[in-house]
Structure formats: structure tokens, C-alpha cells
């Protein structure tokens, strides 16, 4: 057999260039206007254990974007998406999905497979937000389709520089995935329903433990959750009997101790606030005191609820990772966490009193 001997540099260059073109698979590339880019994926389960997938697709129509909602069913999510894709004139591209919405019923049954599927396929960005719909998804999306919606509404609802609010928990796909596999950390996911006057309404947050929804916390408690996460409560109004204030910044210090299987945590949360409104006669000292009692009480209430359901959404177990052995750590939720004693102190720092002093 004769060995192929390239004649010159030119022939090598030409064959390399050909290889670049042949091996690239660039003929599979679809231009952006031939792809549909759903922003929201809704997932529910039907009675005969099939997934029903809803896609909310912004569609450019003459100078503006309209929203189209399509749905399909299948044994797996990708099958369902494929079914939708088959019936549409452009191919469905999940790369731009920003929000994944799961029906409450499905979430209570467990989302382990769904989340693992998203993580595995990598088609959906792991930064996509996870939410739970407190309504039947059919109903929710049919309400949405009757409303005149702008293309990216659901996204803007969670966007930090748009409609986000400190009472909304932001939880990404990868965080849910982490919580499924972590011994010491769970997540809170916003519970959304179609609003009466507004498009959406947040009812509270769902507490997810091991991929299952186990508890629900209110909006006020979600604020505390966010404050604890350092997702600062910036721009948030807190109503008291006498005044409403806006939290403009927070930082915290924790000190954890473990004595004989009895965890003890001392937390000091420092809140910087600005007074927005007052009612009747108040002084800053009263506001400070009342705010502190209110928050401490609210926090204790939330902790009691969470300890009962053994869901550690604040990630308090993280403080004990260096104190409990790996073997024991897996019992954190069941044995240590319910016994956790917390000493919570809020330090309030009023940064701007407005005209309170002079009037």
C-alpha cells in the first residue's frame, strides 16, 4: 500500500480548510428568526401520569411582541416539547427559558426528576428561575392568554432591575438541584397565581425539601428569608403600627455552637432603614424598638414552622458543617435541626429620618 504523501503546504492547507467546513456541522444552524424562543415553561402532570408542558412564547408581530401559549403532552418533558415543536412552523429552542413554572400538585409529588432532567440536558440554562403555580396550570395559562401581554412580562416580574421585589424569593434551577442533594440546605420557591387586577400575584413561598413541597411561608416571611440570604431587602417597605420604613441594606453575623447534639446559633442582623411614613406621634426610638420586636417575633414564628417541617431553607446547617461529622450530617434535618436554639437580635439603624424631628 502506498502512503499518501502531501505534495505541498498548499494541499495540506486546503484539506485542513475543507475539514473545518465538513466537520463543523454548520448546516444545522438555524437563524434566530427561525427559532421560537419560549420564555416560560409550565409543567404539570395529567391524571394518567403524563407531563403536560406549556410554553409561553413571545412572538414578534408588527412593531410589537405578542404572547402565544402552546401546550403538549408526553411521557417526558422533552417528548412533550418535541410534540410542540413538531406542530409549529419554527423549531422550539429552550435556550432562552428564564422561568420554569411547576404546578403545585406536581411539586407536592416531587420535582426531583424534572430538575435533574433540566440539569442533565443543559438545554435550559441552569440559571432559570423555578416557581410554583398555586393554580391549575391550564387555568393559569388560559387566564394569561386572555390578557394583552407584553412579550417578556413573566420575566420582568422576577427581573431585579424591573419588577422584582424583596418579598419574592429568587431560586434558580441549580439551587433546587443542590438542595435535592444537600444535607443541610433547602430552598424556598415563589408561589404564583394569576392576579385579579395585576397579571400575577405572589401568594407566598413554597418550601421545598428533597425536591418536594412541604410547607408554605407568607410574603413577610419570604422577606426575612431574603434578608437572611443577603439578597438584601433593598427597597422594601415594612409596615408597623406607627410607621413604614424602607430597608436599604443589611448585614449579619452568626456565631454557632454545638454542645451534646444541641446546636445553638446566635445571629445578629443589622438593618439599615429609612423612614417613609409615620402615623401619629412617634419617635425613632419607638420605631426601632417596635421594628425589632416585630421582626424577632416574625422570625421565631417562621422558624417554628420550618423546624416542624424539618426544612432548612435558611441553610443554617451550613454553620455546623465543620462541627458535625459527615456521617452524622445526613441526620441534620431530622435530629439536630428541630432542636436548634436561636438567639436572634435585630439591630436597627435609622439612616434617614426625613422631617420627623422638626415636625
Amino acid at each position: 500500500m502506498k502512503l499518501f504523501k502531501p505534495k505541498s503546504k498548499a494541499s495540506i492547507t486546503i484539506s485542513l480548510l475543507l475539514a473545518v467546513i465538513i466537520l463543523s456541522g454548520c448546516w444545522d444552524i438555524r437563524d434566530i428568526n427561525h427559532r421560537v424562543l419560549p420564555v416560560v415553561v409550565g409543567i404539570s402532570t395529567t391524571d394518567d401520569d403524563l407531563y403536560k408542558v406549556f410554553l409561553k412564547i413571545p412572538e414578534p408581530v408588527e412593531e410589537m411582541t405578542k404572547v402565544k401559549i402552546v401546550s403538549g403532552t408526553g411521557e417526558t418533558i422533552s417528548k412533550a416539547v418535541d410534540a410542540i415543536s413538531r406542530n409549529m412552523e419554527s423549531s422550539v429552542d429552550l435556550l432562552h427559558v428564564k422561568v420554569i413554572m411547576i404546578e403545585r400538585k406536581t411539586a407536592e409529588e416531587g420535582v426531583k426528576d424534572i430538575i435533574a432532567g433540566f440539569m442533565r440536558s443543559r438545554e435550559v440554562s441552569s440559571k432559570a428561575l423555578v416557581t410554583i403555580c398555586d393554580q391549575d396550570l391550564n387555568e393559569f395559562f388560559s387566564i394569561l392568554s386572555t390578557k394583552e401581554l407584553h412579550g417578556t412580562t413573566m420575566l420582568d416580574f422576577f427581573e431585579k432591575n424591573a419588577g422584582w421585589n424583596a418579598e419574592i424569593a429568587l431560586t434558580r434551577v441549580w439551587e433546587v438541584y443542590r438542595s435535592i442533594h444537600s444535607y443541610t440546605r433547602d430552598v424556598a420557591i415563589p408561589l404564583i397565581a394569576a392576579g385579579k387586577t395585576t397579571t400575577y400575584e405572589q401568594i407566598g413561598s413554597a418550601v421545598i425539601k428533597n425536591g418536594k413541597m412541604v410547607e408554605q411561608i407568607s410574603n413577610d416571611e419570604t422577606l426575612l428569608f431574603n434578608a437572611f440570604k443577603g439578597e438584601s431587602a433593598h427597597g422594601q417597605i415594612e409596615v408597623l403600627n406607627h410607621a413604614s420604613v424602607m430597608i436599604i441594606g443589611n448585614n449579619m453575623h452568626h456565631h454557632s455552637e454545638l454542645t451534646e447534639k444541641q446546636p445553638f446559633l446566635q445571629s445578629r442582623i443589622k438593618l439599615k432603614v429609612v423612614i417613609l411614613e409615620t402615623r401619629g406621634k412617634t419617635t425613632s426610638a419607638t420605631i426601632k424598638k417596635e421594628l425589632s420586636t416585630l421582626l424577632t417575633g416574625r422570625f421565631a414564628e417562621m422558624m417554628a414552622k420550618l423546624e416542624e417541617s424539618e426544612a432548612d431553607i435558611l441553610g443554617l446547617g451550613q454553620f455546623y458543617r465543620n462541627k458535625i461529622t459527615r456521617k452524622e450530617l445526613k441526620n441534620w434535618r431530622s435530629e439536630y435541626y428541630p432542636n436548634l436554639k436561636m438567639d436572634m437580635q435585630f439591630e436597627i439603624d435609622i439612616q434617614n429620618e426625613g422631617y420627623l424631628r422638626t415636625t
Binding site: 463543523s24 454548520c26 437563524d31 434566530i32 424562543l37 413571545p58 414578534p60 411582541t65 435556550l95 417578556t152
Partner: protein, 444 residues
């Protein structure tokens, strides 16, 4: 008639402008030979007569006069003829074998020194090099005004002689570079160098290099600054610019005239040029990559508006952008070719009408027009036309790679261009060389 004159006449009489004139100078019969297109005969004769008169007044022998006028030759028809071609005047002394080659008053064939035609100066010296090599060297001498300036001249070419001059500052210029230059010039002295390709061949530079090895400038001020930094200037007769060797990457961003501004402004101007080169290289490729291969990188709002602007466009992004880029290159090339009075019309037709119509006809997207405009404007910020053309070429490499591999291709295209630039050198001096000592401004 003498044999010499006969011989010259027989060789040159086909030329209508060849003039043979009998005259008397210091009571000697002479014959003037020359081209009346190159020699101003009236003025030259006046000069000759004046010369002769002053000699006669001092009662000096005519032999002195002949020596004073020019170079005396005996016989040597070939030398006489080549001198005539060079624009000299031959004064033949009648009834002898001797003639004089004289530097006459020549007719005005050169431009006077004017403002630069292709390089704009905002705040700086406004004179520019012209076609005459002697004038150019003179300008440089006047600016340098130092004994360090060394000039070497070469007469190159086989039949048609072309003057090539090499200027450098003694002690500043790289001796290695000089040695290489001189040896290459001497070795290939018979090659034709009427253009830069010919010169590159003579100096042994590869002819397939996409970036010119010569940094050209029309501005004497710039050329002198380069001299002070140890570069070497080459002048070719009839080319109205200086060729600076070695050419470096940094020359794309830095113009000497920048130093006439305060330092922060100079830095700002140069950073704008760096941004300009990046925009030229990246934006067309980025458009292709984002629109067809990696739309997930775009923000969803942007992705939607891009998708909307491409709605109804029949071609894939690559075809679309190549189509428009070629049209743009045509406009650029046409506006170079056109007379100055029609140029603006073409720009308007090309830029506004065509651009608008092509979008209306849904052949390309709105966004692409913006991208193209940005690219073309950014391309013009690069210093030196030769460099701008090279960069214009490089962007196609990136566009094609981006259409195949998306953002990855874009980055690898930049790496390939970077590697290519790093591979260039002029006699061992890398193209990417940057003087980091920071003391180049004072010339030491």
C-alpha cells in the same frame, strides 16, 4: 558636424522635443543638446551668458569656464545620451571632442510643497512630501538639522534608473536592520522598484504578507519623529511619501501628532483607535455568531427585537452580511476611483438610498445596517491607510469562522489574527514590538 553630435542626433531625433541649438559662449562655438520638455532653454542660456560674462571680465581662460559650468567629458556618447534622458544639458564645444554635462534650469514639473492629500492633521505641521525625492530629503534635513542624519542614495533598475534614498540617524538606527537593508539593496540593485511590491521584492520581503512591511507617511513631521525613534526612512523618486521601516503594530494606534495634545487626551484618542480596530474586527462576526449560532447569549429582549428585525429576511446571516459587506467595499472602492466632484453623490446613493431600500425590500435586517455603519466608521479610525485595508481584510476571516463556530469561532479568529501578527517580522524585529521604556519621545 562633429561625430559625437551626429551620433546623439541619430539616436534621439525621433523625439520631437529633442533640441539641438548652436550658440556662442565666451567666443567659442557651442552646440546645446537637450530635451526642451525637461530643460528651460531660455533661462539656461541666460544663466550661461551671465557666467561667461563674469569670466570674461576677470580675464580668465575659457578652460576655467568649462570646468565651472559642469562636468567635462571626452567622447563617451552613451554617457551623454543617458545624461540627456536624466534632464541634463549637453554643451558640446564645436570642433573638439569635448562636451560639458550641465545642470540646467529645468522646467517646472514638480508640485510645490503642499498640504497632505491623504492624511489629515488637526493640530500640527501641514506640509507634506511631494514627488521630487530631492525636495523630500531637503525637507527632512531641514527638520532634523543635525549632523547625525545620514543619507545614502542608490540608483536602481536595469534600463530606467530610479533613485532610492535611505535616511537614518547615526547612533539611533538599528545597525542590524541597516546592514540587512543595505546588503539587500546592493544585491538586488538591478530590480525594478517603481512600486512598493517591487521594493518589497528587492528587500526580500514575502509577497503574500497581508500587512505591509512599510509604514507610509506623507507628513515630514511624522517621518522625522520615526527617525528619532531609530527607524529608517526610504524614499523612492516620484513617490510622494516616506516609507518607514520597520513597521510595527503600535503604528496603527499611535500618530506622532497625538503628542501635540495633552497627555490624557492623547491616551483617550489612542484608546478610541484601539476600540475602533476591535469593533471593526468583531462586530460583523459577532452579528453572525449571535444571530445564527449562539442566540442564547443575547438578552431575551434583545433576542426578540433581533428576531423581529430579521423577520422575512430570506438569506442566512452569513450570506446577508457578506452581501452587504461586498456592497460596502464596492462603495469604498468606487469613491476612491471617482473624481472628487462626484464622490459625495455616490456616498449618498450608496449609503442612504441603498441602505434604506435594502431594508425596505427585506433583503437584510435593520440591525445589520447599524452594524455595517459601525464597522465602516470604526475602520476609519485606524492610523494609516495601508493598515486600515489590512484590517478590512481580516474581518472576513472572523465572519466566516463565526458563521461556522459561533462565538468560539469569533474568539479563535482573533487568536488566529493575533498569531499571524505575532509571526510577522522585519529582519528579525517582531511586528508586535513595543517600546516599553517610555522614553521614546525625547529621541534617546
Amino acid at each position: 558636424m562633429e561625430q559625437l553630435v551626429q551620433e546623439i542626433k541619430s539616436k534621439l531625433e525621433n523625439n520631437e522635443d529633442f533640441l539641438l541649438q548652436r550658440d556662442y559662449l565666451a567666443d567659442t562655438a557651442i552646440i546645446l543638446l537637450g530635451f526642451n520638455t525637461l530643460v528651460d532653454f531660455v533661462k539656461t542660456r541666460a544663466v550661461l551668458q551671465k557666467h561667461a560674462e563674469s569670466h570674461l571680465l576677470q580675464n580668465r581662460p575659457p578652460e576655467d569656464l568649462w570646468n565651472a559650468i559642469g562636468e567635462l567629458i571626452e567622447g563617451n556618447v552613451n554617457k551623454a545620451i543617458s545624461s540627456i534622458y536624466e534632464g541634463k544639458l549637453i554643451i558640446h564645444l564645436a570642433d573638439t571632442d569635448r562636451s560639458i554635462i550641465m545642470e540646467p534650469v529645468s522646467t517646472m514639473l514638480d508640485r510645490s510643497i503642499e498640504t497632505p492629500a491623504n492624511e489629515n492633521v488637526i493640530q500640527g505641521a501641514l506640509n507634506a512630501f511631494t514627488e521630487g525625492i530631492d525636495a523630500n530629503i531637503g525637507i527632512v534635513r531641514k527638520l532634523v538639522n543635525s549632523e547625525e542624519l545620514i543619507m545614502a542614495s542608490y540608483s536602481t533598475g536595469q534600463n530606467r534608473k530610479k533613485k532610492l534614498s535611505l535616511l537614518y540617524l547615526e547612533g539611533q538606527a538599528d545597525t542590524e536592520l541597516l546592514k540587512n537593508l543595505e546588503s539587500h539593496i546592493e544585491k538586488n540593485i538591478h530590480q525594478d522598484i517603481s512600486d512598493l511590491q517591487g521594493l518589497a521584492k528587492m528587500l526580500g520581503f514575502p509577497s503574500w504578507s497581508a500587512i505591509s512591511k512599510f509604514n507610509t507617511t506623507e507628513l515630514p513631521h511624522h517621518a522625522v519623529q520615526y527617525l528619532k525613534k531609530g527607524r529608517v526612512i526610504l524614499f523612492i523618486d516620484r513617490l510622494p511619501f516616506a516609507l518607514i521601516l520597520p513597521s510595527l503594530l503600535w503604528d496603527m494606534f499611535a500618530i506622532e501628532n497625538d503628542r501635540n495634545f495633552p497627555l490624557p487626551i492623547m491616551i483617550a484618542i489612542r484608546s478610541i483607535r484601539i476600540i475602533g480596530i476591535l469593533i471593526t474586527l468583531i462586530t460583523p462576526g459577532l452579528y453572525v455568531a449571535l444571530v445564527s449560532v449562539n442566540p442564547e447569549v443575547l438578552q431575551i429582549q434583545l433576542a426578540l427585537s433581533v428576531a423581529q428585525s430579521r423577520e422575512g429576511v430570506p438569506y442566512p446571516a452569513l450570506v446577508e452580511i457578506i452581501f452587504m459587506l461586498v456592497i460596502l467595499e464596492l462603495i469604498l472602492e468606487a469613491s476612491v476611483r471617482l473624481p472628487k466632484s462626484i464622490g459625495p453623490t455616490i456616498t449618498m446613493v450608496g449609503g442612504i438610498i441603498l441602505g434604506q431600500a435594502v431594508v425596505e425590500a427585506k433583503l437584510v435586517s435593520n440591525l445589520l445596517i447599524i452594524i455595517l455603519a459601525a464597522t465602516t466608521i470604526a475602520n476609519s479610525t485606524i492610523a494609516g491607510f495601508q493598515n486600515a485595508v489590512s484590517i478590512r481584510l481580516f474581518k472576513y476571516v472572523i465572519v466566516i469562522l463565526a458563521s461556522i463556530y459561533g462565538l468560539l469561532g469569533l474568539v479563535s479568529g482573533l487568536v488566529i489574527i493575533g498569531a499571524y501578527l505575532a509571526g510577522l517580522d522585519t529582519y528579525g524585529k517582531s511586528y508586535l514590538y513595543i517600546n516599553v521604556k517610555g522614553n521614546e519621545s525625547n529621541g534617546r
